[in-house]
Amino acid sequence: MKSLEELRAIREKMNGNIGFRSESSDDTRIVVGMATCGIASGARPVLKTLSDEVQKRGLKHVKVCQTGCIGLCQYEPIVEIYEPGKEKVTYVKVNPEKAIDILEQHIVRGQAIDKYMLHVNENM
């Protein structure tokens, strides 16, 4: 290594990695349902995609976590977004492609994606 730029490049590369180990509670949390029902309907690749993309894009103050069964097993995989000071948003039947849309539109640009959300249907 011969320059500070090279040092900073390593730092940037590691940032997503180490920044991950934060204790802050003001972070945006992306929660993936990972109970048996979630895993059976494909929640594992969704979780992996979300986590990888957050780190790849170096998104700060965004955590990707798992949770247990929410009780809506037929809508799994379910992804919920908790932003500080905002109402929780629930996305249903998510797959890795939808997960990337959610990251790009909801997390990065702040626009929730209505068509992926859970809509209460009278005839459910």
């Binding site: 290594m1 011969k2 320059s3 500070l4 040092l7 390593i10 730092r11 590369k13 590691m14 940032n15 997503g16 990695n17 180490i18 991950f20 180990r21 934060s22 204790e23 509670s25 993936v32 990972m34 109970a35 048996t36 895993i39 979780l47 992996k48 979300l50 986590s51 990888d52 780190q55 790849k56 955590k63 990707v64 976590c65 798992q66 949770t67 247990g68």
Partner: protein, 596 residues
């Protein structure tokens, strides 16, 4: 890329409670459940809460598990790492609250702490230079080499008010300034004192094990500031994990060109080598340490000349302690004002203490200077086990003294501790409860200095031995009141005449216990009693005939055959045969045996 990081403590404390086996079990189980590409296992340095080891922290949720056994691993992996259900029973007890789990930073042990020197310990993998760089490592070295003059670096350290963390508290910037003249024209050296030898002190070990690169970076900064091209780390061979990680760190830093020739293309050269100490306490004294690096027998020499003028191999040298070094890069990056905003008027920043003795949370704590002893013991330390009363705390190891209960509210800093007859020392803090005999404590430390005195000067070699003999006479019940006066006189004589810091401070444990606990010394001399019931020669074990059922359990267990009596009749202890081992007291089921 990983979606979860599992940090397992690889410090000496957790290694001895089995963290290596936990890591192995975790790696195997992750493979079994096909999670090895999703979950990273990171072996870190010390988290400080050694009492609760092995420690495991799972991110991104930041869940803090304590006392994790290899048997717990399948459950952690399938429940937490796969399904996201926290294994409540393993969560550190103070992090459990009715609403669920609170952040580890909110627990009593961590809440009042402020981690500067320990900032990376337990956070990064010390064997991976990229992780250190990821938290801003080597940024400070880059800054001084490209943006600052050597004099500006020294001024920054001076302005921060940083004082040596090894014990004496000499201003670090001053030391550097003294060694800074004639840059480029003379050979100079930068040394790191990692010969941590105080009984009960392990903060330097934890920094070396948890964040070795911080020491390398800081030494290179100092090399630039005074114009030195070579550094030595003098570390005790009894710290194998620290030595191993330092070797790895030096190798990685050289590979990246952060040590060696022409660092960052600025023309600055600096390299570091390790020297292992063979376990002599006196080698923690600066002149003895340098003599030992030179390859000679580790003995001190008189000062002046000071190392800044004539140190290692006769060249100007600066020598700082591990914890001092650990503060340097942060001061460069965040500025002297940030550092000076922590602490008290004359003692800036934070101090790491190794908390031990009669305390619930044994471990490593870093607190701002000026925190009271009460906060350390009652809040961070979680109080004294078994509801016993706090009697005193010993700081500074064999060179320090005790802080009695009446001074528990004193803010801890260099000057306050000296004013009450103790000293900061390197940071060992041993808590003692009412069952501790202060004469016995003084004897313990004197025994240590007698063993460790190098023998070069008479006041230390002979004087400490005579001190110990007087103390033994007192704890044997043969002391006289004149002995107490002689003891004190001899203490001052040694303090004034010994050659180096070891001898000059060796009488401190005696002087400070005499100052605060003279009544205990008098009880040993006049009443021939040890009030804490510790000194064996002053105790007799007896059997209360009213309580003794004659079960013969004590007689059967006595290793000296000192107990006689017929079955179902009260037994008697023979004073002549009794070796006062206490076995009978532990064995008796009826509480019939007592000591007085």
């Amino acid at each position: 890329m990983y979606r979860s990081h599992v940090l397992v403590c690889g410090g000496t404390g957790c290694t001895s409670s089995g963290s290596q086996q936990v890591i192995q079990a975790l790696r195997n189980e992750l493979k079994n459940q096909k999670l090895q590409d999703e979950v990273a296992v990171v072996k870190t340095g010390c988290h400080g809460l050694c009492e609760e080891g092995p420690i495991m922290v799972v991110y991104p949720e930041a869940v803090f598990y304590s006392r994790v056994r290899p048997e717990d691993i399948p459950e952690i992996v399938s429940e937490h790492l796969l399904k996201g259900r926290i294994v409540e029973r393993l969560v550190y007890h103070d992090a459990q609250v009715p609403e669920g789990i609170r952040s580890i930073n909110e627990t009593a042990f961590y809440k009042k702490q402020h981690r500067v020197a320990l900032r990376n310990c337990g956070v990064i993998n010390p064997e991976e230079i990229d992780e250190y760089i990821g938290t801003g490592g080597y940024e400070a070295l880059g800054k001084v080499l490209t943006e600052m003059t050597p004099d500006e670096v020294i001024q920054t350290i001076l302005d921060s008010g940083l004082r040596g963390r090894g014990g004496a508290g000499f201003p670090t910037g001053m030391k550097w300034r003294f060694a800074s003249g004639n840059r480029g024209n003379v050979q100079k050296y930068v040394c790191c004192n990692a010969d941590e030898g105080d009984p009960g002190a392990f903060m330097d070990r934890s920094v070396l094990e948890g964040d070795p690169h911080v020491v390398l970076e800081a030494m290179a900064i100092a090399g630039y500031a005074i114009g030195a091209s070579q550094g030595y780390i003098y570390v005790r061979a009894e710290y194998p994990i620290a030595v191993e990680r330092l070797k790895i760190a030096i190798g990685q830093a050289r590979e990246y060109g952060l040590l060696g020739k022409n660092i960052f293309g600025t023309g600055f050269d600096f390299d570091i080598d390790l020297r292992l100490g063979a376990g002599a306490f006196v080698c923690g004294e600066e002149t003895a340490l340098m003599t030992s690096i030179e390859g000679n027998r580790g003995e001190p020499r008189p000062r002046p000349p000071f190392p800044a003028v004539k140190g290692l191999f006769g060249c100007p040298t600066i020598l700082n302690n591990v914890e001092t070094w650990a503060n340097i890069p942060q001061i460069i990056l965040k500025g002297p004002k940030w550092f000076a905003s922590m602490g008290t008027e004359k003692s800036k920043g934070t101090k790491v203490f190794a908390l031990g003795g009669k305390i619930n949370n044994t471990g490593l704590v870093e607190i701002p200077m000026g925190t009271t002893l009460r906060t350390v013991i009652e809040e961070i330390g979680g109080g004294i086990p078994n509801g016993k009363k706090f009697k005193a705390a010993q700081t500074g190891g064999p060179s320090g003294g005790c802080i009695p209960a009446e001074h528990i509210d004193i803010p801890i800093d260099y000057d306050n501790l000296i004013s009450i007859g103790s000293m900061m020392g390197s940071g060992g803090l041993i808590v003692m409860d009412e069952d501790t005999c202060m004469v016995d404590i003084a004897k313990f430390f004197l025994q240590f200095t007698v063993d460790e005195s190098c023998g070069k000067c008479t006041p230390c070699r002979v004087g400490t031995k005579r001190l110990l003999e007087i103390l033994e006479k007192i704890t044997d019940g043969k002391g006289t009141m004149e002995d107490l006066d002689k003891l004190e006189e001899l203490c001052y004589y040694i303090k004034d005449n010994a050659l180096c810091g070891l001898g000059q401070t060796a009488p401190n444990p005696v002087l400070s216990t005499l100052r605060y606990f003279k009544d205990e010394y008098i009880a040993h001399v006049k009443d021939k009693k040890c009030p804490a019931e510790v000194c064996k020669k002053l105790l007799t074990y007896k059997i209360d005939p009213a309580k003794c059922k004659g079960c013969t359990l004590c007689a059967r267990n006595c290793p000296a055959d000192a107990i006689a009596g017929n079955i179902k009749e009260p037994h008697i202890i023979s004073v002549d045969k009794c070796i006062k081992c206490g076995t009978c007291l532990d064995k008796c089921r009826f509480g019939a045996i007592y000591k007085e």
